[in-house]
């Protein structure tokens, strides 16, 4: 009892400190650079792909934070670096009060129980030679948390929870459709009872009629188990639907972050504005009236980002400052809504 009361008091203290909300994950100055090497025998580093280049954000307990951006903007790398699947080049990741970037070995393994990942491609992320039962119980085996009989019962329970018939426990992944496979991936992520899940494009490989099923399942599970999600996606309509807050990334940096409705109804960064205007709406009458901001050119290479602001090469409203000064910092434009743009400063 004492510990429960104690933790509640602590929670309350934290809540008052953090505007009534408990921060479960705090990312500061996160960088992940992949080296580019040259030479056959002696490899020397000739450059770096700056996939993630200084990312700061907090994730609050029980919320869904959307991480959006185009391919190559570093959103998936950010997710994996948070989970320490990639070790960061610099920066700090504090999860449930503990610094992950300096953790090693068993200590880190213990933390992995609390944070899991759901992958994009349900065809590639399940071992084709393992049965569904073995796939879902593997995390339990690795962390040695249950006896064999308990495991079996628990796996059946998990399968039921994600909407699969436990009868299929001895079947192999190829016997399932894409949507069912993604449910298996979700069951595996839930096995260790985590508090935080990185969902890395969990629905983009699925058929349209199946996407809503998986999204509804993720929402139900979040309610039931009080989960916190980092939802990585490029489908901006779905992000608006599922996320409480959204962070927009461009070329390894967060350019705008805030409550979803504020960002969508009042996008402040010219990249967010262009991105949102480019998303088609399934309504011919709305489409007739919409004005698109068509960006010219392509995303620059993260191995060779522009001199000034990362977006300056494609920005429709850039001015001299944008080409000279390094990237602008994130500033709070309205409560909770941050943007990194010289125009807004």
């Amino acid at each position: 009892m004492d510990s429960v009361v104690g933790s509640k008091v602590m929670q309350q203290q934290e809540q008052t400190q953090n505007e009534d909300r408990e921060v479960i994950l705090s990312v500061r100055g996160l960088k992940k650079h992949f080296p580019i090497t040259a030479g056959i025998v002696i490899q020397r580093q000739v450059g770096a792909v700056k996939a993630v280049d200084g990312v700061d954000f907090d994730v609050y307990k029980g919320e869904t934070l959307g991480l959006v951006g185009e391919s190559g903007c570093g959103k998936s790398t950010t997710g994996r670096t948070i989970l320490q699947l990639y070790r960061p080049t610099a920066g700090s990741v504090v999860f449930e009060g503990k610094e992950l970037t300096t953790m090693r070995g068993n200590e880190l393994r213990q933390m992995r129980r609390r944070m899991q990942i759901i992958f994009q491609d349900p065809f590639a992320s399940l071992n084709p030679r393992m049965t569904v039962g073995n796939i879902v119980s593997e995390p339990l085996l690795v962390h040695n948390v249950m006896s064999k009989n308990e495991r079996k019962e628990y796996v059946s329970h998990l399968l039921e929870k994600v909407g699969l018939n436990p009868f299929y426990i001895n079947r192999y992944p190829h016997e399932f459709s894409g949507g069912q496979r993604q449910r298996i991936g979700i069951a595996r992520a839930l096995a260790l009872n985590p508090s935080f899940i990185v969902a890395d494009e969990p629905i983009s490989a699925l058929d349209v009629s199946i996407q809503a099923q998986v999204v509804n399942l993720l929402e139900d599970l979040q309610q039931e188990l009080n989960l916190t999600y980092l939802f990585i996606a490029h489908d901006l309509s779905m992000v608006r639907h599922i996320c409480d807050r959204v962070a927009v990334m461009y070329l390894g940096k967060v350019v705008e972050i805030g409550p979803t409705n504020l960002v969508y109804d009042n996008p402040l960064h010219p990249y967010t504005q262009a991105l949102l205007s480019a998303v088609p709406v399934p309504d011919p009458e709305v489409e007739e009236k919409r004005r698109r901001i068509i960006l010219t050119g392509d995303v620059p290479s993260p191995a060779n980002p522009p001199q000034g602001c990362n977006f300056s090469t494609r920005c429709p409203v850039s001015f001299d400052l944008c080409y000279q000064e390094p990237d602008p910092p994130l500033i709070e434009a309205e409560p909770g809504h941050f943007v990194a743009c010289h125009r807004v400063l």
């Binding site: 058929d207 608006r240 480019a278 011919p284």
Partner: protein, 337 residues
């Protein structure tokens, strides 16, 4: 405007080791000159196979066009010989594919790939073709076009490669451009560029377009007519506003309701379509959507519904359904108070 193409009762199957795949099961429609037809369907709906059948690009075996006809400018494309079809493809009907990474030949220069059709179909000389190729690249918005003719596909980004594909597709002024998920592999800002480009080119050149996609949003912005396919059949088609605002097939309605929209905040629970898409190795009986359709009647499971004109809707708004969706929905609403 006249009819450009008449597709009638097209049936395409694949005879594989794992059994027969019933990919296209009787598809009929007319395409008008200059019309943009959006075809929407999920994987396995037969939307791509039906287009490949029209183009004569189905590998036979294992594939076989069992029956049907495709009348294009007075000729049945399905009856043409290989050599005759070769003269149609590229010249009168062009196709662009989903993946610009794999549909360009990686070892040939862009210029070579662009001039091939010009020389074959239009009988141009090398230098004429090169000049025209440079114009085409310029038309699709590739800067420094003449120099880029000597570049290889890997030197272009994904969006640029799709532009090159479009330039190749339009090089011989085709009457019909079939675009099979041309923007699916691209980022949303690049997708907007490509859609804008195709709209603008259509205005200039006036070709008809068949735009195949799974994204209802994309077709809403460009199509005149929407055709919804499922299980190798057409379940609903018609003027896009009529179909999207007044769907009469439960699958069309289900798709619309399961999509979140950018312009609505996220408090609504998505209505999901239960079940999974059909196994195309089973010969379809009746309405292919019946097993997932909460409004299905007994007849839906037994008998295939024909396409019929929707009463009181725009002309050409056709639906294949035994049930009367608006009436069923009304009754349901009344029951729920």
């Amino acid at each position: 405007m006249g009819v450009l193409m008449e597709v009638r009762d097209l049936v395409t199957r694949f005879y594989t080791q794992e059994g027969t795949v019933y990919a296209v099961n009787g598809v009929s429609y007319d395409l008008q000159e200059g019309e943009t037809l959006g075809i929407v369907g999920e994987s396995g709906s037969g939307k791509s196979v039906h287009a490949l059948s029209i183009m004569g690009l189905i590998p036979q075996p294992p594939g076989k066009i069992e029956s049907g006809s495709v009348m294009f400018q007075g000729r049945d494309l399905l009856k043409l010989s290989r050599d005759q079809m070769r003269l149609v493809r590229g010249a009168e009907i062009a196709m662009i594919f989903q993946d610009p990474m794999t549909s360009l030949n990686p070892v040939l220069k862009i210029g070579t790939q662009l001039t091939e059709g010009l020389k074959l179909h239009l009988g141009m000389t090398q230098s004429q073709a090169e000049n025209r190729a440079a114009e085409l690249l310029d038309m699709v918005g590739i800067p420094d076009a003449r120099k880029r003719l000597d570049a290889y596909p890997h030197q272009f980004s994904g969006g640029m490669r799709q532009r090159v594909m479009i330039a190749i597709g339009l090089s011989c002024n085709p009457k019909l451009l079939i675009a099979d998920e041309p923007t699916t592999a691209l980022d949303v800002t690049i997708q907007a560029q490509i859609i804008e480009l195709i709209k603008q080119l259509k205005e200039e050149l006036g070709m008809a377009i068949i735009w195949i996609t799974h994204d209802l949003g994309v077709v809403a912005g460009i199509a005149d007519t929407l055709q919804v396919m499922y299980g190798g059949m057409i379940l609903e088609r018609g003027p896009i506003k009529a179909v999207m605002h007044n769907p009469h097939n439960a699958y069309t309605l289900g798709l619309m309701n399961s999509l979140p929209r950018l312009d609505e905040d996220g408090n609504r629970r998505l209505q999901q379509i239960e079940g999974s898409p059909p196994d195309m190795r089973i010969e379809p009986v009746g309405d292919p959507f019946a097993p997932r359709n909460p409004y299905a009647t007994e007849r839906c499971f037994k008998e295939r519904p024909p396409l019929r004109q929707v009463e009181g809707s725009a002309e050409g708004h056709l639906v294949a359904a035994w049930y009367d969706l608006p009436a069923v929905l009304k009754a349901e609403a009344a029951q729920n108070g």
